[in-house]
């Protein structure tokens, strides 16, 4: 009971992990990107459609089936990020409003693409086995079942989260990025190109989040398209708060979220009570939000200039 549960929770956690890692990178640059659900949806849709066209073109190369969709997903996510940063950095539009519009655009676009290629989901479902089985070890050992029975993209999520953590906290680039998100005026006066950092962080972050959408559809959902990614996107945003802006913590946080999301299927509760269990991630996020604001500890605060656009001449 506990082994399949943990295995499944871990598997799902990667979806949240991608989303939250991406959002952390973006938020560290001072952008509150509420367009993440849209970005994840588009990522999932584009990846799926790429697989569909590859199969239609009778290309069965595992390598291509694996990496070409990943590439298109990253490009699609990056483009969404570019659009967002163009609006907020160059045109200095309100970040909340832009993010919501981007979500509307992204979810709509993804939904349209996926419903238009209805048959895609069926074919793609088969290929998704490739994703799931690669790097997968079949064994009855509990450790292997929990930690090593996942597909390529699962491990990639953890690698990305760890790399992000290291880059943010241990490198010069990360230092500069955090300075941009905390105090753009200071960063600017120290000779850091605020505009470039914000653009690049948003693009990279969106690309990471887009892989999350791709993972969810190809690996977790087994190629099934459901109108579910938007919810996953918001949960990822919640996870960012839950883990107080730390990618490494968010590995753990995402497992908790994943566990809570599927817990209902494994414990003996009524059909209705599953809904209440699904509420828990949101409630604990709210609690974390409240606690961080009451405690006011500097270590657990959002980047100081989160949500604010920077205009040098305004000072």
């Amino acid at each position: 009971m506990i082994v399949p549960f943990l295995s499944e929770a871990l598997k799902l956690s990667a979806a949240f992990l991608y989303g939250s890692t991406g959002e952390i990178v973006i938020e560290k640059s001072g952008h509150l990107n509420l367009g993440i659900p849209g970005v994840m949806s588009v990522g999932g849709a584009v990846g799926c459609v790429t697989v569909y066209y590859l199969l239609k073109a009778k290309i069965y190369s595992t390598f291509l089936l694996l990496f070409l969709p990943l590439l298109t997903t990253i490009v699609a996510g990056g483009l969404m990020g570019l659009l967002y940063s163009f609006m907020t950095v160059t045109l200095r539009a309100n970040q909340n409003v832009t993010g919501l519009a981007l979500t509307s655009l992204g979810v709509g676009l993804a939904g349209y693409i996926m419903t238009q290629k209805g048959e895609a989901a069926l074919i793609v479902g088969k290929t998704s086995k490739i994703f799931a089985s690669l790097f997968q070890i079949q064994s009855e050992n509990w450790f292997v079942k929990i930690f090593l029975s996942h597909g390529l993209l699962f491990y990639l999520a953890i690698i990305i989260a760890i790399v992000t953590q290291i880059v943010l906290n241990r490198t010069r680039v990360g230092l500069h990025l955090r300075a941009v998100g905390e105090n753009p005026a200071t960063a600017d006066s120290a000779g850091i190109n605020v505009t470039a950092y914000r653009y690049i962080a948003t693009i990279i972050g969106s690309a990471i989040a887009a892989i999350g959408g791709h993972f969810t559809i190809m690996e977790y959902m087994g190629g099934n398209w459901e109108y579910i990614l938007e919810g996953f996107g918001w949960l990822s945003v919640a996870l960012v708060i839950f883990t107080v802006w730390r990618p490494a913590l968010s590995i753990l946080g995402s497992v908790i979220f994943g566990g809570l999301y599927i817990a209902a299927a494994y414990i003996n509760v009524s059909f209705a009570q599953t809904e209440l269990i699904k509420t828990i991630p949101y409630v604990i996020t709210i609690i974390v939000l409240i606690i961080t604001s009451i405690v006011g500890s500097k270590k657990a605060q959002p980047p100081a200039s989160l949500g604010m656009n920077y205009f040098r001449e305004e000072r």
Partner: protein, 657 residues
């Protein structure tokens, strides 16, 4: 001594305001130069031009004897000039070390150059081996010996190594760029070396938000030194420090001097100038008065140079008519955001019908003092006693409820017009209402109210007409995006029982102010933000005096205004004085303060350095008081000069009472 920087005939104007006029100054290596002057004398502007914040309109700057153009802070860095501003540019959640190395570029890594270098290196090795091979054959060596195999293996080795090395160049570049080096041992060592050399006391891994102001300043200084600055400019470095911290800072500055750096401190504190600097440059009203060696001068001479001769401003000043205490401040203490006593045990009295000037270098507690009185800042201790001039005035229901009137009557607050004491016992409600409405119940004495712990709303509701013109008009006092009419409504919108805002009265008021004060605006619906500074000020002052206040507090009401607008404001203040209003005028121009006010309170370091009669005191005396920190030695310096004046002042106050 060698000149580090030489400025020749520097002129800088902001619009019609001349900040610096024809200033020539040199900064020498291995010395500490003080730039001394009053607020607004252009000393910070002058230094900002060396640091690349501003660009001079005219004049030349020489660094190490060469003429340079410093267009931005980057240029300044290049010429090894570093400036430490009053507002620190630090990221709060970073450690000191992070902040110091922030923005530092990695050493150049040129791919092509590196490729050429490696190519050359391996080609050399390869050629040497080829040559060895050639000689081997010439010596008749065979292809099948061990020796030959060795040579061939070496050749392949070199080839492989070259391939590997050159192939990985791109990765090396990437690695170097994002390297894990931002706190590598080497860098910390370099930082620690700076810390040790100058005797700073700083934990490099401490976060900025855990630091005191002094530590933050230290971080800024180390940051500048780390970037290789040879010329350090410190803008009022001691303004935020305690005496002990100041001593420490001065020790550091002395070590810098010994290390051959040029240090400039911008200041207005005479005792510090005397203590630390080798030379003093005095600026007044944008002009360079003189640069003297500290050893050959004294405080008195410097003060005279700073404040200059008294200028007659021709502001009419009438003698106060019947001045009675209106606002009594007793032992008031207000803390600022950093938890430091910005206003420290201040006591003074403001009389009705007079203008009380508050003199002092800005940032010595003026803002906190006024905001504390207005209920906008927490007053730590002390009393703010307001004397409401109600004697023989009828009580109204506007500010006092029926219940309260009954209570006050029982306590003997009221009398009838014929002088008889009011006794409301046994009277029915209707009768009392009638009496009040007919204005038959008069106050026996002035009402005395403690304003401490009151919110602005409560102060307003108590019927205290306290008007306040804050210094940052568009941030506090007015709403930039709202029209003049809407801004007029700010003070009065609560009046009346209606749920709607009465716009008629504000509109009339706006039109009156526009007409009477000659506000230049397209219409009364224009957002205030679009008006020029002088007109914004007219709107604000106009509104504040329109409620016929009993106390009017104005902070720097003429800051940034041209001559005509300034005189208009002076006249308005004088009119209020004639209407028996108690006017508190915070100013920075000593000439104006001396010409306009009746009495002067001089603030220094949040304390009252003296209360003097503005008619008889001299500019130098006030200047000396402003520049003193109220420490024992300092007070001795001017106590003799002022003792007499203060006594006179107290005598006057005594007579008034």
């Amino acid at each position: 001594m060698e000149n580090a920087i030489e400025m020749k005939n520097i002129t800088k104007t902001f619009g019609s305001v001349i900040a610096n006029k024809n200033v020539s100054l040199e900064i020498r290596k291995g010395e500490i130069l003080s730039v001394l002057g009053e607020n607004g004398c252009g000393k910070t502007t002058l230094m900002n031009m060396i640091a690349g914040i501003y660009y001079p309109d005219e004049g030349q700057i020489f660094v190490n004897g060469e003429e340079v153009t410093i267009k931005n802070p980057k240029d300044a860095f290049r010429y090894k000039i570093g400036m430490i501003h009053q507002h620190f540019k630090l990221v709060d959640v970073f450690t000191a070390a992070d902040n110091i190395i922030l923005g530092e570029k990695m050493p150049e890594f040129n791919l092509r150059k590196e490729y050429k270098r490696l190519q050359k290196k391996y080609k050399g090795q390869f050629k040497a081996l080829k040559a060895q091979e050639k000689t081997y054959f010439e010596e008749g060596g065979s292809r099948f010996t061990k020796e030959y195999g060795e040579i061939v293996r070496k050749e392949t080795g070199v080839f492989n190594r070259a391939l590997l090395h050159i192939g990985s160049l791109g990765w090396i570049k990437l690695w170097k760029h994002a390297k894990f080096n931002y706190l590598s041992a080497m860098r910390v060592k370099k930082l620690q070396a700076i810390v040790d050399t100058y005797g700073f006391q700083l934990d490099l891994s401490k976060k900025i938000y855990e630091m005191s102001v002094s530590e933050k300043q230290t971080v800024e200084i180390i940051k500048t030194l780390y970037r290789g600055a040879e010329i350090l400019i410190l803008d009022e470095p001691t303004a935020v420090l305690t005496p002990q911290e100041i001593r420490k800072l001065f020790e550091v500055l002395r070590i810098m001097r010994e290390n051959g750096k040029a240090v400039v401190i911008i200041t207005h504190k005479l005792n510090e100038v005397m203590e630390i600097s080798d030379r003093v440059a005095v600026l007044r009203k944008g002009e360079h008065i003189a640069t003297v060696n500290t050893r050959e001068t004294n405080e008195k001479q410097l003060t005279e140079m700073m404040v200059g001769k008294k200028v007659d401003l021709n502001i009419a000043r009438k003698d106060p008519v019947d001045p009675k205490p209106r606002l009594i401040i007793e032992h008031m203490t207000v803390k600022n955001r950093d938890g430091i006593n910005a206003v420290d045990d201040v006591s003074f009295t403001v009389n009705g019908g007079e203008i009380l000037g508050i003199a002092g270098i800005s940032g010595n507690g003026q803002k906190e003092l006024l905001e504390g009185i207005a209920g906008l800042q927490k007053v730590e201790c002390g009393d703010i006693i307001f004397h409401n001039p109600k004697k023989n005035k009828p009580v109204t229901f506007f500010h006092h409820s029926l219940k309260k009137i009954k209570r006050m009557a029982a306590e003997g607050f009221f009398h009838y017009p014929n002088g008889e004491k009011v006794d409301l016992k046994g009277k029915r409600k209707k009768e009392i209402v009638e009496l009040v409405n007919k204005e038959q119940i008069l106050f026996y004495e002035d009402e005395i109210i403690d304003l401490r712990h009151r919110t602005p709303r409560e102060i307003q509701e108590l019927g205290i007409k306290l008007s306040f013109v804050p210094e940052d008009r568009l941030n506090m006092g007015l709403v930039g995006n709202m029209s003049i009419v809407d801004n007029m409504a700010l003070r009065s919108y609560r009046k009346g029982k209606s749920v709607f805002v009465n716009k008629k009265r504000p509109k009339n008021l706006a039109d009156t102010i526009i007409r009477d004060l000659e506000v230049v605006t397209p219409s009364d619906m224009t957002p205030v933000r679009r008006l020029s500074g002088g007109n914004v000020q007219k709107v604000l002052v106009g509104r504040e005096i329109s409620s016929s206040p009993k106390v009017l507090m104005a902070a720097y009401p003429v800051r940034g205004l041209d001559i005509n607008s300034s005189y208009l404001i002076y006249n308005l203040l004088n009119q209020q004085k004639e209407k028996n209003v108690a006017v508190v005028f915070v100013g920075e121009d000593l000439d104006v303060l001396l010409a306009l006010s009746d009495r002067l309170v001089v603030l220094s370091g949040g304390k009252v350095a003296g209360i003097v009669d503005a008619r008889t005191v001299t500019k130098e005396e006030v200047g000396l008081m402003m520049l003193s920190r109220a420490s024992v030695e300092d007070s001795k310096l001017f106590a003799d000069a002022l003792g007499k004046k203060q006594n006179d002042d107290e005598k006057e106050e005594g007579e008034n009472d």
